[in-house]
Protein backbone atom coordinates (compact mmCIF):
# COMPACT_ATOMS: atom_id res chain seq x y z
CA UNK A 1 0.00 0.00 0.00
CA UNK A 2 1.46 3.40 -0.84
CA UNK A 3 2.29 4.93 2.50
CA UNK A 4 1.31 8.53 2.38
CA UNK A 5 3.71 10.88 4.06
CA UNK A 6 2.00 11.74 7.33
CA UNK A 7 0.65 15.26 7.51
CA UNK A 8 0.66 15.66 3.72
CA UNK A 9 -2.61 16.98 2.34
CA UNK A 10 -2.88 13.92 0.08
CA UNK A 11 -0.51 11.40 -1.44
CA UNK A 12 -0.27 11.13 -5.19
CA UNK A 13 0.32 8.48 -7.84
CA UNK A 14 3.80 9.35 -9.16
CA UNK A 15 4.25 10.58 -12.75
CA UNK A 16 6.32 7.46 -13.44
CA UNK A 17 3.48 5.22 -12.25
CA UNK A 18 0.95 7.24 -14.27
CA UNK A 19 3.06 6.68 -17.41
CA UNK A 20 3.51 2.97 -16.63
CA UNK A 21 -0.26 2.56 -16.41
CA UNK A 22 -0.90 4.70 -19.49
CA UNK A 23 1.57 2.65 -21.58
CA UNK A 24 0.15 -0.64 -20.35
CA UNK A 25 -3.34 0.60 -21.27
CA UNK A 26 -2.36 2.01 -24.68
CA UNK A 27 -0.59 -1.28 -25.45
CA UNK A 28 -3.73 -3.21 -24.53
CA UNK A 29 -6.02 -0.89 -26.53
CA UNK A 30 -3.87 -1.23 -29.64
CA UNK A 31 -3.73 -5.02 -29.16
CA UNK A 32 -7.54 -5.02 -29.10
CA UNK A 33 -7.80 -2.68 -32.10
CA UNK A 34 -5.54 -4.96 -34.17
CA UNK A 35 -7.56 -8.00 -33.17
CA UNK A 36 -10.93 -6.43 -33.99
CA UNK A 37 -9.59 -5.07 -37.31
CA UNK A 38 -8.15 -8.46 -38.32
CA UNK A 39 -11.32 -10.28 -37.32
CA UNK A 40 -13.52 -7.81 -39.24
CA UNK A 41 -11.19 -7.89 -42.25
CA UNK A 42 -11.21 -11.71 -42.36
CA UNK A 43 -14.96 -11.98 -41.97
CA UNK A 44 -16.34 -9.07 -43.99
CA UNK A 45 -13.65 -7.50 -46.19
CA UNK A 46 -11.96 -10.25 -48.15
CA UNK A 47 -11.69 -9.33 -51.83
CA UNK A 48 -13.96 -6.28 -51.55
CA UNK A 49 -11.21 -3.66 -51.96
CA UNK A 50 -12.28 -1.69 -48.90
CA UNK A 51 -8.60 -0.67 -48.38
CA UNK A 52 -8.61 1.67 -51.36
CA UNK A 53 -11.41 3.75 -49.84
CA UNK A 54 -9.76 3.64 -46.43
CA UNK A 55 -6.47 5.04 -47.73
CA UNK A 56 -6.15 8.67 -46.66
CA UNK A 57 -9.66 8.56 -45.22
CA UNK A 58 -9.06 9.01 -41.47
CA UNK A 59 -10.85 11.87 -39.72
CA UNK A 60 -7.72 12.52 -37.67
CA UNK A 61 -5.45 13.07 -40.68
CA UNK A 62 -5.75 16.82 -40.06
CA UNK A 63 -3.64 16.34 -36.90
CA UNK A 64 0.03 16.56 -37.94
CA UNK A 65 1.67 13.66 -36.15
CA UNK A 66 5.32 12.53 -36.09
CA UNK A 67 5.94 9.90 -38.78
CA UNK A 68 9.39 8.67 -37.81
CA UNK A 69 11.72 8.40 -34.83
CA UNK A 70 13.45 11.71 -35.39
CA UNK A 71 10.23 13.67 -35.55
CA UNK A 72 8.97 11.89 -32.42
CA UNK A 73 12.16 12.82 -30.60
CA UNK A 74 12.43 16.38 -31.85
CA UNK A 75 8.85 17.46 -31.11
CA UNK A 76 8.52 19.19 -27.71
CA UNK A 77 7.18 16.71 -25.19
CA UNK A 78 4.29 19.03 -24.25
CA UNK A 79 3.22 19.19 -27.89
CA UNK A 80 3.42 15.41 -28.20
CA UNK A 81 1.37 14.99 -25.00
CA UNK A 82 -1.26 17.39 -26.32
CA UNK A 83 -1.26 15.53 -29.64
CA UNK A 84 -1.96 12.25 -27.87
CA UNK A 85 -4.72 13.98 -25.93
CA UNK A 86 -6.19 15.42 -29.13
CA UNK A 87 -6.16 11.99 -30.81
CA UNK A 88 -7.85 10.34 -27.83
CA UNK A 89 -10.51 13.08 -27.75
CA UNK A 90 -11.02 12.75 -31.49
CA UNK A 91 -11.88 9.08 -31.00
CA UNK A 92 -14.23 9.44 -28.04
CA UNK A 93 -17.43 9.93 -30.06
CA UNK A 94 -16.65 7.55 -32.96
CA UNK A 95 -15.88 4.73 -30.52
CA UNK A 96 -19.17 5.28 -28.67
CA UNK A 97 -21.01 4.87 -31.98
CA UNK A 98 -18.82 1.98 -33.09
CA UNK A 99 -19.73 0.08 -29.91
CA UNK A 100 -23.46 0.60 -30.52
CA UNK A 101 -23.67 0.44 -34.32
CA UNK A 102 -21.56 -2.73 -34.59
CA UNK A 103 -24.52 -4.58 -33.11
CA UNK A 104 -26.42 -3.90 -36.35
CA UNK A 105 -23.93 -5.80 -38.51
CA UNK A 106 -25.36 -9.08 -39.75
CA UNK A 107 -24.12 -12.04 -37.65
CA UNK A 108 -21.44 -9.97 -35.97
CA UNK A 109 -19.63 -12.47 -33.72
CA UNK A 110 -19.63 -11.95 -29.96
CA UNK A 111 -15.83 -11.42 -29.98
CA UNK A 112 -16.21 -8.38 -32.25
CA UNK A 113 -19.12 -6.96 -30.20
CA UNK A 114 -17.28 -7.41 -26.90
CA UNK A 115 -14.05 -5.87 -28.19
CA UNK A 116 -15.87 -2.79 -29.54
CA UNK A 117 -17.36 -2.14 -26.09
CA UNK A 118 -14.05 -2.87 -24.33
CA UNK A 119 -12.15 -0.50 -26.66
CA UNK A 120 -14.61 2.33 -26.03
CA UNK A 121 -14.39 1.90 -22.25
CA UNK A 122 -10.61 1.59 -22.14
CA UNK A 123 -10.10 4.54 -24.51
CA UNK A 124 -12.20 6.70 -22.15
CA UNK A 125 -10.07 5.43 -19.26
CA UNK A 126 -6.84 6.28 -21.12
CA UNK A 127 -8.22 9.75 -21.88
CA UNK A 128 -8.86 10.25 -18.14
CA UNK A 129 -5.29 9.17 -17.43
CA UNK A 130 -3.78 11.41 -20.09
CA UNK A 131 -5.69 14.41 -18.76
CA UNK A 132 -4.24 13.60 -15.36
CA UNK A 133 -0.70 13.31 -16.81
CA UNK A 134 -1.01 16.52 -18.85
CA UNK A 135 -2.44 18.29 -15.81
CA UNK A 136 0.53 17.12 -13.77
CA UNK A 137 3.10 18.05 -16.45
CA UNK A 138 1.50 21.41 -17.32
CA UNK A 139 0.94 22.11 -13.61
CA UNK A 140 -2.80 22.49 -13.76
CA UNK A 141 -3.79 23.83 -17.15
CA UNK A 142 -4.97 20.98 -19.44
CA UNK A 143 -4.51 22.80 -22.74
CA UNK A 144 -7.22 23.92 -25.09
CA UNK A 145 -9.48 21.23 -26.37
CA UNK A 146 -8.08 20.53 -29.87
CA UNK A 147 -9.47 17.49 -31.59
CA UNK A 148 -10.72 16.40 -35.01
CA UNK A 149 -14.50 16.30 -35.39
CA UNK A 150 -16.05 13.13 -36.79
CA UNK A 151 -19.10 13.05 -39.04
CA UNK A 152 -19.08 9.36 -39.93
CA UNK A 153 -22.21 8.20 -38.06
CA UNK A 154 -24.58 8.29 -41.08
CA UNK A 155 -22.22 6.05 -43.07
CA UNK A 156 -22.33 3.45 -40.26
CA UNK A 157 -26.11 3.39 -40.59
CA UNK A 158 -26.39 3.09 -44.39
CA UNK A 159 -28.97 0.70 -45.73
CA UNK A 160 -26.64 -0.63 -48.40
CA UNK A 161 -24.71 -3.39 -46.63
CA UNK A 162 -21.56 -3.03 -48.75
CA UNK A 163 -21.23 0.71 -48.13
CA UNK A 164 -21.95 0.26 -44.44
CA UNK A 165 -19.30 -2.46 -44.10
CA UNK A 166 -16.82 -0.27 -45.97
CA UNK A 167 -17.48 2.52 -43.47
CA UNK A 168 -16.84 0.15 -40.55
CA UNK A 169 -13.66 -1.09 -42.22
CA UNK A 170 -12.45 2.46 -42.63
CA UNK A 171 -13.14 3.29 -38.98
CA UNK A 172 -11.37 0.15 -37.71
CA UNK A 173 -8.43 0.69 -40.09
CA UNK A 174 -8.03 4.28 -38.88
CA UNK A 175 -8.36 3.38 -35.20
CA UNK A 176 -5.82 0.58 -35.53
CA UNK A 177 -3.40 3.10 -37.01
CA UNK A 178 -4.10 5.87 -34.49
CA UNK A 179 -4.06 3.59 -31.46
CA UNK A 180 -0.65 2.34 -32.62
CA UNK A 181 0.59 5.94 -32.91
CA UNK A 182 -0.73 6.71 -29.41
CA UNK A 183 0.95 3.58 -27.98
CA UNK A 184 4.22 4.40 -29.72
CA UNK A 185 4.24 8.07 -28.70
CA UNK A 186 3.48 7.19 -25.06
CA UNK A 187 6.37 4.71 -25.02
CA UNK A 188 8.69 7.39 -26.40
CA UNK A 189 7.37 9.98 -23.91
CA UNK A 190 7.78 7.57 -21.01
CA UNK A 191 11.39 6.87 -21.98
CA UNK A 192 12.07 10.59 -22.44
CA UNK A 193 10.39 11.96 -19.35
CA UNK A 194 10.82 9.15 -16.85
CA UNK A 195 13.94 7.27 -17.99
CA UNK A 196 15.90 10.13 -19.56
CA UNK A 197 15.69 8.41 -22.98
CA UNK A 198 17.44 5.40 -21.56
CA UNK A 199 14.73 2.76 -21.33
Amino acid sequence: LPICPSGSISCQVSLGELFDRAVKLSHYIHFLSSEIFNEFDERYAQGRGFITKAVNGCHTSSLTTPEDKEQAQQIHYEDLLNLVLAMLRSWNIPLIHLASEVQSIKEAPETILWKAVEIEEQNKRLLEGMEKIVGRVHAGEVGNEIYSPWDGLPSLQLADEDSKLSAFYNLLHCFRRDSHKIDNYLKVLKCRLIHDSNC
Partner: protein, 210 residues
Protein backbone atom coordinates in the same frame (compact mmCIF):
# COMPACT_ATOMS: atom_id res chain seq x y z
CA UNK B 1 -21.90 6.71 24.57
CA UNK B 2 -21.13 7.57 20.89
CA UNK B 3 -20.07 4.51 18.86
CA UNK B 4 -16.42 3.47 18.87
CA UNK B 5 -14.28 4.38 15.88
CA UNK B 6 -14.60 1.74 13.09
CA UNK B 7 -11.50 0.35 11.30
CA UNK B 8 -11.16 -0.16 7.55
CA UNK B 9 -9.67 -3.65 7.38
CA UNK B 10 -9.23 -4.43 3.70
CA UNK B 11 -9.72 -3.16 0.15
CA UNK B 12 -9.36 -5.53 -2.80
CA UNK B 13 -9.76 -5.48 -6.57
CA UNK B 14 -10.12 -8.87 -8.28
CA UNK B 15 -9.44 -7.64 -11.83
CA UNK B 16 -8.28 -4.02 -11.78
CA UNK B 17 -11.74 -2.88 -12.91
CA UNK B 18 -13.77 -2.66 -9.67
CA UNK B 19 -12.88 -2.78 -5.97
CA UNK B 20 -14.44 -3.35 -2.56
CA UNK B 21 -13.53 -2.13 0.92
CA UNK B 22 -14.57 -3.75 4.21
CA UNK B 23 -14.60 -2.25 7.70
CA UNK B 24 -14.89 -3.60 11.21
CA UNK B 25 -17.32 -1.71 13.45
CA UNK B 26 -16.20 -0.73 16.96
CA UNK B 27 -18.63 -1.12 19.88
CA UNK B 28 -21.98 0.60 19.11
CA UNK B 29 -22.17 2.24 22.57
CA UNK B 30 -25.50 0.44 23.19
CA UNK B 31 -27.37 2.37 20.51
CA UNK B 32 -28.47 1.69 16.95
CA UNK B 33 -25.47 2.73 14.91
CA UNK B 34 -25.21 3.30 11.19
CA UNK B 35 -22.12 3.58 9.05
CA UNK B 36 -21.24 5.96 6.22
CA UNK B 37 -18.25 5.45 4.00
CA UNK B 38 -16.90 8.70 2.52
CA UNK B 39 -14.06 9.14 0.09
CA UNK B 40 -12.16 11.83 -1.76
CA UNK B 41 -9.70 11.55 -4.63
CA UNK B 42 -6.16 12.89 -4.65
CA UNK B 43 -5.99 16.56 -5.55
CA UNK B 44 -9.79 17.01 -5.33
CA UNK B 45 -11.69 18.73 -2.53
CA UNK B 46 -14.97 17.01 -3.30
CA UNK B 47 -16.12 14.24 -0.94
CA UNK B 48 -18.28 11.40 -2.22
CA UNK B 49 -20.31 8.73 -0.46
CA UNK B 50 -20.04 4.99 -1.04
CA UNK B 51 -21.94 4.18 -4.26
CA UNK B 52 -23.11 0.70 -3.17
CA UNK B 53 -23.27 -0.67 0.37
CA UNK B 54 -25.06 -3.89 -0.59
CA UNK B 55 -23.35 -5.84 -3.42
CA UNK B 56 -20.39 -7.02 -1.31
CA UNK B 57 -22.35 -7.80 1.86
CA UNK B 58 -22.41 -6.22 5.34
CA UNK B 59 -19.88 -3.55 6.40
CA UNK B 60 -18.63 -3.15 2.87
CA UNK B 61 -18.61 -0.71 0.00
CA UNK B 62 -18.47 -1.84 -3.63
CA UNK B 63 -17.02 0.53 -6.26
CA UNK B 64 -18.19 -0.50 -9.73
CA UNK B 65 -16.31 0.34 -12.96
CA UNK B 66 -17.81 3.81 -13.17
CA UNK B 67 -16.55 4.66 -9.68
CA UNK B 68 -13.15 3.01 -10.03
CA UNK B 69 -10.28 5.15 -11.28
CA UNK B 70 -6.82 3.75 -11.41
CA UNK B 71 -5.13 7.08 -11.95
CA UNK B 72 -5.68 8.41 -8.48
CA UNK B 73 -5.32 7.63 -4.79
CA UNK B 74 -8.55 7.33 -2.78
CA UNK B 75 -8.70 8.71 0.76
CA UNK B 76 -11.41 6.63 2.46
CA UNK B 77 -12.95 6.99 5.91
CA UNK B 78 -15.94 5.34 7.63
CA UNK B 79 -18.09 7.25 10.11
CA UNK B 80 -20.14 5.47 12.77
CA UNK B 81 -23.13 7.47 14.04
CA UNK B 82 -25.73 6.81 16.76
CA UNK B 83 -28.11 9.11 18.59
CA UNK B 84 -25.40 10.19 21.01
CA UNK B 85 -22.77 11.13 18.49
CA UNK B 86 -20.39 9.81 15.85
CA UNK B 87 -16.82 8.72 15.38
CA UNK B 88 -14.67 8.52 12.24
CA UNK B 89 -12.12 5.84 11.30
CA UNK B 90 -8.53 6.69 10.46
CA UNK B 91 -8.15 7.51 6.74
CA UNK B 92 -7.33 4.54 4.51
CA UNK B 93 -5.45 5.34 1.27
CA UNK B 94 -6.14 3.13 -1.73
CA UNK B 95 -4.36 2.97 -5.10
CA UNK B 96 -6.36 0.39 -7.05
CA UNK B 97 -3.28 -1.00 -8.83
CA UNK B 98 -1.77 -2.00 -5.49
CA UNK B 99 -4.82 -3.85 -4.18
CA UNK B 100 -5.35 -6.25 -7.07
CA UNK B 101 -5.65 -9.78 -5.77
CA UNK B 102 -6.87 -12.11 -8.50
CA UNK B 103 -9.00 -15.21 -7.94
CA UNK B 104 -7.07 -18.50 -7.97
CA UNK B 105 -6.18 -20.20 -11.29
CA UNK B 106 -8.68 -22.82 -12.54
CA UNK B 107 -8.72 -26.05 -14.60
CA UNK B 108 -5.57 -27.39 -12.93
CA UNK B 109 -4.64 -30.69 -14.62
CA UNK B 110 -1.80 -33.10 -13.86
CA UNK B 111 -0.71 -35.65 -16.44
CA UNK B 112 2.07 -38.19 -16.39
CA UNK B 113 3.78 -38.48 -19.78
CA UNK B 114 5.98 -41.43 -20.83
CA UNK B 115 7.57 -40.81 -24.26
CA UNK B 116 9.13 -43.97 -25.78
CA UNK B 117 12.66 -44.67 -24.48
CA UNK B 118 12.52 -41.49 -22.50
CA UNK B 119 11.79 -40.67 -18.91
CA UNK B 120 8.31 -40.32 -17.54
CA UNK B 121 7.55 -36.80 -16.39
CA UNK B 122 4.65 -34.84 -14.99
CA UNK B 123 2.95 -32.04 -16.95
CA UNK B 124 0.93 -29.49 -15.01
CA UNK B 125 -1.42 -27.14 -16.89
CA UNK B 126 -3.86 -24.51 -15.64
CA UNK B 127 -5.91 -21.52 -16.80
CA UNK B 128 -6.06 -17.95 -15.51
CA UNK B 129 -9.05 -17.10 -13.26
CA UNK B 130 -12.07 -16.42 -15.53
CA UNK B 131 -12.32 -12.73 -14.61
CA UNK B 132 -8.70 -12.08 -15.64
CA UNK B 133 -8.61 -14.45 -18.58
CA UNK B 134 -11.03 -12.39 -20.60
CA UNK B 135 -8.71 -9.38 -20.61
CA UNK B 136 -5.40 -11.12 -21.17
CA UNK B 137 -3.52 -8.04 -22.22
CA UNK B 138 -4.87 -5.86 -19.43
CA UNK B 139 -4.09 -7.98 -16.43
CA UNK B 140 -0.84 -9.90 -16.90
CA UNK B 141 -0.60 -12.67 -14.34
CA UNK B 142 2.38 -14.58 -12.98
CA UNK B 143 2.09 -18.02 -11.43
CA UNK B 144 3.76 -19.96 -8.68
CA UNK B 145 3.18 -23.63 -7.97
CA UNK B 146 3.86 -25.62 -4.83
CA UNK B 147 4.02 -29.32 -4.25
CA UNK B 148 4.88 -31.75 -1.53
CA UNK B 149 4.59 -35.47 -0.93
CA UNK B 150 1.23 -36.18 0.71
CA UNK B 151 2.73 -37.02 4.11
CA UNK B 152 5.61 -34.54 3.71
CA UNK B 153 5.88 -31.42 5.84
CA UNK B 154 7.30 -28.57 3.78
CA UNK B 155 6.12 -27.41 0.40
CA UNK B 156 8.48 -26.82 -2.48
CA UNK B 157 7.52 -23.61 -4.26
CA UNK B 158 8.44 -22.87 -7.88
CA UNK B 159 7.89 -19.54 -9.63
CA UNK B 160 6.97 -20.14 -13.30
CA UNK B 161 6.43 -16.60 -14.58
CA UNK B 162 3.62 -16.14 -17.10
CA UNK B 163 3.54 -19.72 -18.35
CA UNK B 164 0.38 -21.80 -17.82
CA UNK B 165 2.23 -25.08 -18.14
CA UNK B 166 5.12 -26.70 -16.28
CA UNK B 167 7.06 -29.95 -16.65
CA UNK B 168 8.37 -31.75 -13.58
CA UNK B 169 11.15 -34.23 -14.22
CA UNK B 170 12.64 -35.03 -10.89
CA UNK B 171 9.86 -36.60 -8.77
CA UNK B 172 10.24 -39.52 -6.39
CA UNK B 173 8.82 -42.82 -7.67
CA UNK B 174 6.00 -44.35 -5.63
CA UNK B 175 5.16 -41.08 -3.86
CA UNK B 176 1.76 -39.36 -3.88
CA UNK B 177 2.09 -35.59 -4.35
CA UNK B 178 -0.21 -32.64 -3.59
CA UNK B 179 -0.04 -29.74 -6.04
CA UNK B 180 -1.50 -26.21 -5.85
CA UNK B 181 -1.09 -23.06 -7.93
CA UNK B 182 -1.70 -19.40 -7.26
CA UNK B 183 -1.28 -16.19 -9.25
CA UNK B 184 -0.47 -12.51 -8.93
CA UNK B 185 -0.47 -9.46 -11.21
CA UNK B 186 2.96 -9.02 -12.83
CA UNK B 187 3.74 -5.72 -11.10
CA UNK B 188 1.84 -4.66 -7.99
CA UNK B 189 -0.92 -6.50 -6.14
CA UNK B 190 -0.94 -9.70 -4.09
CA UNK B 191 -1.03 -13.46 -4.55
CA UNK B 192 -4.41 -15.09 -5.00
CA UNK B 193 -5.51 -17.89 -2.70
CA UNK B 194 -4.03 -21.28 -3.61
CA UNK B 195 -6.06 -23.35 -6.06
CA UNK B 196 -7.79 -26.40 -4.59
CA UNK B 197 -5.45 -29.31 -3.87
CA UNK B 198 -4.75 -31.76 -6.69
CA UNK B 199 -3.21 -35.21 -6.10
CA UNK B 200 -1.01 -37.33 -8.33
CA UNK B 201 0.42 -40.76 -7.64
CA UNK B 202 3.89 -41.26 -9.18
CA UNK B 203 4.28 -44.91 -10.32
CA UNK B 204 7.16 -46.84 -8.81
CA UNK B 205 9.09 -47.19 -12.15
CA UNK B 206 9.40 -43.39 -12.49
CA UNK B 207 13.21 -43.76 -12.44
CA UNK B 208 15.82 -41.39 -13.76
CA UNK B 209 17.37 -43.51 -16.56
CA UNK B 210 20.97 -42.44 -17.13
Amino acid sequence: TPPEKPTIIKCRSPEKETFTCWWKPGSDGGHLTNYTLLYSKEGEEQVYECPDYRTAGPNSCYFDKKHTSFWTIYNITVRATNEIGSNVSDPHYVDVTYIVQPDPPVNVTLELKKPINRKLYLVLTWSPPPLADVRSGWLTLEYELRLKPEEGEDWETIFVGQQTQYKMFSLNPGKKYIVQIHCKPDHHGSWSEWSSEKYIQIPTDFRVKD
